[in-house]
């Protein structure tokens, strides 16, 4: 028995997300009275790997291979399934992020393991194994029983707090050779913005909607986001109009985010928009229409014109920093 947690590393570094995952895995393992094994694919330094032990991993495995520089779903799935079998893992945990969504379903078939995806809490019971997950795009939560022997869970981002539980585990790095015929995808180009906070990682998000009136009005919103060390986002009409890139679209069909603070500026709060942000810990709404549905989802609100309110907010944050 063991709980296996797949901790992705980004160019050898772990994010808060990885530590959240290990904290969650460690709490699951505690209920199951078993150990946590953290698995990372792609070279990471020992000092970095040891962080996983700080949050409760009893064993830390780092698989490296110079053939595995980018994600290939088939090759990665095979490696993870071999480790899972070798370690006798009965619960396998991923993030419900890009990589987790790519790998968990494949692993599910390989190990004949049922998936609970977008989990937001610890299992409700072990027998039957029942998980609590997001459903209907945040308009409901479902209790799902996983009946298979091995269970795969994907944890919704920012839904579990960090718990420090140092184990002093010593990382094991294993260099492997992958059967080249297994790697069928080839990356031909990578475009990456550096130095920008990734929207799904951000603790603070400042988001603009049609109430911003024009793509030329974004400067104070961007400034507010940067003063709060946050990311910028937008509603669907804004990305459809091309005012902002579609990567920024938050909502049901865009990004699903759960920051600590979501500031919605000039966004009315249609069901589809709320579906993408309703898991935020705090929502602030700034809107001219006091009856806008966004105020029903928000804890703090300002009824007013974004163009007048935003510069004042920027000034107050600047004063705060003095």
């Amino acid at each position: 028995m063991s709980v296996l947690v797949f901790t992705e590393n980004w160019e050898g570094k772990f994010k808060k997300l990885s530590c959240e995952l290990v904290s969650y895995a460690s709490s699951v393992a505690e209920i199951m009275k078993t150990n946590v094994i953290a698995l990372s694919i792609g070279r990471a330094e020992d000092e970095e790997l040891k962080k996983l032990g700080h949050y409760g991993a009893h064993k830390i495995i780092n698989i490296t291979s110079n053939q595995l520089t980018v994600l290939d779903n088939q090759a990665y799935t095979k490696i993870i399934s071999e480790i899972a079998l070798q370690e006798g893992s009965d619960v396998i945990i991923f993030s419900n992020n890009i990589t987790g969504k790519a790998l968990a379903p494949r692993l599910s078939v390989r190990l004949r393991a049922g998936i609970g995806s977008g989990i937001t809490r610890l299992p409700l019971s072990l027998d039957p194994f029942t998980v609590y997950k997001r459903a209907y795009s945040g308009n409901a939560f479902a209790h799902v029983i996983i009946k298979s022997e091995i269970k795969i869970l994907t944890l919704a981002q920012n839904s579990f707090d960090l718990i420090e539980k140092p184990t002093g585990a010593v990382p094991e790095t294993v260099e492997i050779t992958v059967d080249a015929s297994l790697i069928k995808t080839t990356v031909i180009e990578t475009l990456k913005q550096t130095g920008k906070i990734v929207l799904t990682d951000a603790d603070v998000v400042v988001s603009g909607g049609r109430g911003m009136k024009s793509p030329d009005n974004w400067a104070p919103l961007v400034e507010l986001a940067s003063l709060l060390k946050g990311a910028t986002a937008c509603s669907r009409p804004v990305s459809d109009e091309g005012w902002r890139p579609h990567e920024e679209h938050t909502g049901q069909t865009g990004k699903i985010i759960a920051p600590n603070l979501y500031i919605a500026v000039g966004i009315s709060g249609a069901t589809q928009h709320l579906a993408g942000v309703s898991s935020s810990k705090y929502i602030v709404a700034i809107n001219t229409d006091k009856d806008a549905p966004i105020f029903e989802a928000a804890q703090y609100g300002i009824v007013g014109d974004a163009m007048k309110v935003l510069p004042k907010l920027v000034d107050s944050v600047k004063n705060l920093k003095k």
């Binding site: 409901a140 990356v187 709404a285 804890q299 107050s316």
Partner: protein
């Protein structure tokens, strides 16, 4: 080349979800059923590719796992422009069994590119596409926001944290598709609606498979506390509240 687009039947995205008595399912009265939004975008992109003769895409088929009750949604996909459809007569409540059913049909009929939406807006499972690829032992690329055919070979754009990768992948493969793949979903024309009536829906009875998950109950999210309003003339008070009360900045 042949494209298969997997579609699921979900409540219209503006639906206010109410739970049925017993709270094991939603109250489906008055619900408008639509093609899952990501599947609709996948279908749109598949049709755009077929419209361009240079891609060599010969046909676009849609596949759906569900009862006869979901045929209006399949007809909608045919009206938008799919050439034909497959319905597998099985209950779609578990991703593993749905994927097993679709994989069986793909084995029989053979498709070069299989498109699946990254999730369905009902159970948000993000599982079926990846599962199909593993059942078939073929490559998959997830979080796909671009798909084109270059010199007869597929090239996909995959989102990564803070960027995008272009990837070459051999057929057959499964693309798990998110926003960006097509700008706007294609809308059925009058002619499309007329011709959809006579387009074939091939019916498959389910193969034996197992369900690994089961929904035991649903609950609604807890209502949030009432909004605290701050005067627009004095927004600095908001910053104070965020710092001292909510403690999020």
């Amino acid at each position: 080349m042949k494209i298969l687009v997997c579609i699921s039947n979900v409540p219209d995205t503006t639906t206010k979800i109410k739970l049925a008595e017993g709270k094991a399912s939603i109250d489906s009265s008055g619900i408008q059923w639509v093609i899952n939004p990501w599947d609709e975008l996948s279908l749109t992109r598949a049709l755009e590719l077929k419209d361009d003769i240079a891609t060599g895409i010969k046909s676009v088929t849609v596949a759906h796992v569900g009862s006869a009750g979901s045929e209006p949604t399949i007809r909608k996909a045919l009206a938008i422009g799919a050439d034909d459809a497959i319905r597998i007569n099985s209950d779609p409540s578990d991703a593993y069994s749905v994927a097993a059913q679709i994989a069986e049909v793909i084995k029989k009929e053979g498709f070069d590119i299989v498109l699946c939406g990254i999730e369905s807006s009902d159970f948000n499972g993000s599982a079926v596409g990846g599962m199909i690829s593993e059942f078939l032992g073929i490559p998959s690329v997830s979080s796909v926001s671009e798909l084109s055919i270059v010199n007869g070979l597929p090239v996909v754009g995959r989102e990564i944290d803070g960027g995008r990768e272009s990837i070459k992948v051999p057929v057959p493969f499964v693309a798990i598709v998110q926003k960006g793949i097509a700008k706007e979903p294609r809308i059925a024309s009058m002619r499309g609606i007329m011709t959809a009536r006579t387009k074939p829906i091939r019916l498959y009875e389910p193969v034996a498979t197992e369900k690994l998950t089961e929904v035991a109950g649903l609950e609604k999210p807890l209502p949030r506390a009432a909004c605290k309003f701050v005067d627009a003339e004095n927004p600095s008070l908001l910053i104070e509240l965020l710092q001292n009360e909510a403690k999020v900045i």
